[in-house]
């Protein structure tokens, strides 16, 4: 193709001008803006260019004109397929909505042998508690029947606790029964056990191997930090976890175990040490998570133990460190950034519930509690532990699938919080990457929508969106690193 088109081409376009395609914009700094279109493509544009563009004053031979054109912010005589392309891209992003609930979490026991101070739900591990707080076969059967009513072609069943392995019998029962049902259903069925691994034994792992079950564990950082965050009798949570991870890798394979961390007041000054621990344990990434403001955490000193600015400092220090590692040839991912980047750099939506709008609750994930209560999200059940049952959708023993998934509770929360119609979000350039998280806003502001100017959810995400874009704009090597994370 010739580098330049014939001059007559430009003059004909100039005659008819250009048309603007729908987009939103938000300031990035004093002079620059981020503009995004409905498909999630973004462009960084100078203030003057933005105003010229909107007033149809852009020179069609300029670089910015061609950038805006190639990213579908404008079309002219030469590019009127832009509308079809945008629609196709938006459709790809919205596909998960028609798939409906794919993640089904089963709380098999609330008992736990740890006593982590930030934990919202666990109960002491003894026989009296077992009778009261373990899932029964009857509840499991009904929850499974509901799981398979979801139209999603891919179903992930995740076992949670308390400590889920304390009720391993019901896990075995559910896995076998789900596989049996799936012989006729033919879904893409996956299982994950969330466990602290303290109780893991070879026979448990052999079962996991036979049924292709993934393990998700908790690792908060180096030994001292982890054991401080996660007390248990013997003060050996770290040793047990590391031993467990090794056993999992040996029996299930190196890729079959992943870890999650929780950021506490003790962690906030140690991002590098935490990342180094993950590297030492041969993980290829980390999810730097803030402590969620639900359940016990919000009512205790733990949630307010650090402010959101402190968390952001922790996060960015960690992120910069990880980027440097990658630049030096060591592949390692920060998973929260990778989730956002895949929205920014690929046409695909992510299934990460917190960053979904319409809200991921009920649509992206649903949780069946040990007693049969159904919640719109894990955080919703944690709130219920604090006697706030706003996100309880019903009970598998009393309600039908239709009653649960069309309950006013769910529909109101999803509808009210939909960012496309929320003040500030509806015109925010980052709305295409963001989520509505009605549970968070209900927990912190007693309102599904939330007052976004003072919402820490908004403040945190907006800062991260801006920083990620700023980093890519400033350094092509960072952009390459980010692309390598989303190509995974």
């Amino acid at each position: 193709m010739a580098k330049f088109r014939e001059q007559c081409h430009y003059s004909s376009v100039l005659d008819s001008g250009y048309k603007i395609l729908p987009f939103s914009f938000t300031s990035l700094d004093e002079n620059r803006y981020v503009a995004t279109n409905v498909a999630g493509e973004y462009i960084v544009i100078e203030r003057n260019d933005l105003y010229d563009f909107a007033q149809h004053k852009l020179d069609n031979a300029s670089e910015i004109y061609n950038d805006l054109k190639s990213k579908h912010f404008l079309y002219d005589d030469d590019s009127n397929v832009a509308i079809d392309l945008l629609a196709l891209k938006q459709r790809t992003k919205l596909r998960r909505l028609s798939d409906f609930t794919g993640l089904h979490m089963f709380v098999v026991s609330l008992r736990c042998e740890h006593s982590c101070p930030y934990c919202q739900v666990s109960r002491a591990n003894n026989d009296a508690m077992k009778a009261k707080f373990d899932m029964t076969q009857d509840v499991a059967d009904k929850a499974l029947a509901m799981t398979f009513r979801s139209p999603s072609p891919a179903i992930k069943v995740e076992f949670q606790g308390g400590e889920s392995l304390l009720n391993f019998d019901i896990i075995k029962y559910i896995v076998q029964k789900a596989k049996q049902i799936n012989e006729t259903e033919q879904r893409d069925l996956q299982f994950v056990i969330a466990t602290n691994l303290a109780l893991v034994e070879e026979d448990i792992l052999e079962f996991c191997k036979e049924h292709n079950i993934l393990i998700s564990t908790s690792l908060d950082g180096p030994k001292e930090l982890h054991n401080k965050n996660r007390p248990r009798p013997g003060n050996n949570s770290y040793e047990k976890t590391i031993e467990g991870i090794e056993k999992c890798r040996e029996i299930l394979g190196p890729e079959r175990v992943s870890a999650l961390m929780t950021t506490t007041k003790e962690s906030i000054s140690q991002p590098i040490e935490i990342i180094d621990e993950y590297i030492a344990q041969k993980f290829n990434g980390i999810f730097l998570r803030p402590l969620s403001p639900y359940g016990f955490a919000i009512k205790t000193k733990f949630f307010r133990a650090y402010g959101f600015q402190e968390w952001l400092d922790f996060y960015f220090e960690g992120l910069e460190y990880i980027i440097e590692l990658n630049k030096n040839g060591f592949f390692f991912i920060e998973q929260y950034a990778a989730t956002i980047l895949s929205k920014m750099l690929t046409p695909y939506a992510t299934g990460y519930v917190d960053l979904m709008s319409p809200a991921g609750i009920g649509i992206g994930a649903v949780i069946y509690n040990y007693d049969g209560d159904v919640y719109a999200s894990d955080e919703g059940r944690m709130l219920a532990e604090m006697d706030d049952k706003s996100f309880r959708l019903g009970n598998v023993k009393e309600n039908t699938y239709e009653e649960i998934f069309t309950s006013e509770t769910l529909l109101d929360a999803i509808e009210e919080s939909y960012t496309g119609s929320v003040p500030m979000c509806s015109e925010c350039a980052f709305e295409v990457y963001c989520g509505s998280d009605p549970v968070y806003h209900h927990a912190t502001q007693k309102d599904f929508v939330g007052h976004k100017p003072s919402s820490e959810f908004c403040g945190r995400n907006m800062s991260i969106f801006k920083r990620l874009i700023d980093m890519m704009e400033a350094d092509a090597q960072v952009k390459e690193v980010f692309y390598s994370w989303v190509r995974m």
């Binding site: 914009f25 015109e427 100017p453």
Partner: protein, 102 residues
């Protein structure tokens, strides 16, 4: 016009509409409270700092508010101008999903 903790700014109502001003004000509602009035050809905003210890000065907030009003005005222009295309795109997105009427 400003005194300690409060400031008043006015906008020409033949240039900006009330909705644009209100939307812009909302963005700063974590920092200042607003009293918005219309009089003859003006939209008058009285800003009061919610917390005098806030790191942003009132002067700065007023400056940002003025910029935001320009941005909001531009958003409105783009929104109006792209309305038809937006609907065409949505029609394409939802075609063949069985969700549309008729």
């Amino acid at each position: 016009m400003s005194s300690e903790g409060t400031a008043t700014v006015s906008f020409d109502s033949s240039v900006f509409d009330l909705d644009t001003v209100k939307k812009s004000a909302y963005k700063f509602s974590d920092l200042v409270s607003f009293d918005i009035r219309t009089s003859k050809n003006e939209i008058v905003c009285e800003l009061t700092l919610l917390d005098k210890k806030t790191t942003d000065s009132l002067e700065n907030i007023v400056k940002k508010l003025k910029n935001e009003i320009l941005d909001q005005d531009l958003r409105k222009k783009i929104f109006d101008e792209t309305e038809i295309v937006r609907n065409v795109i949505l029609a394409h997105v939802f075609s063949n999903t069985g969700l549309q009427d008729g």
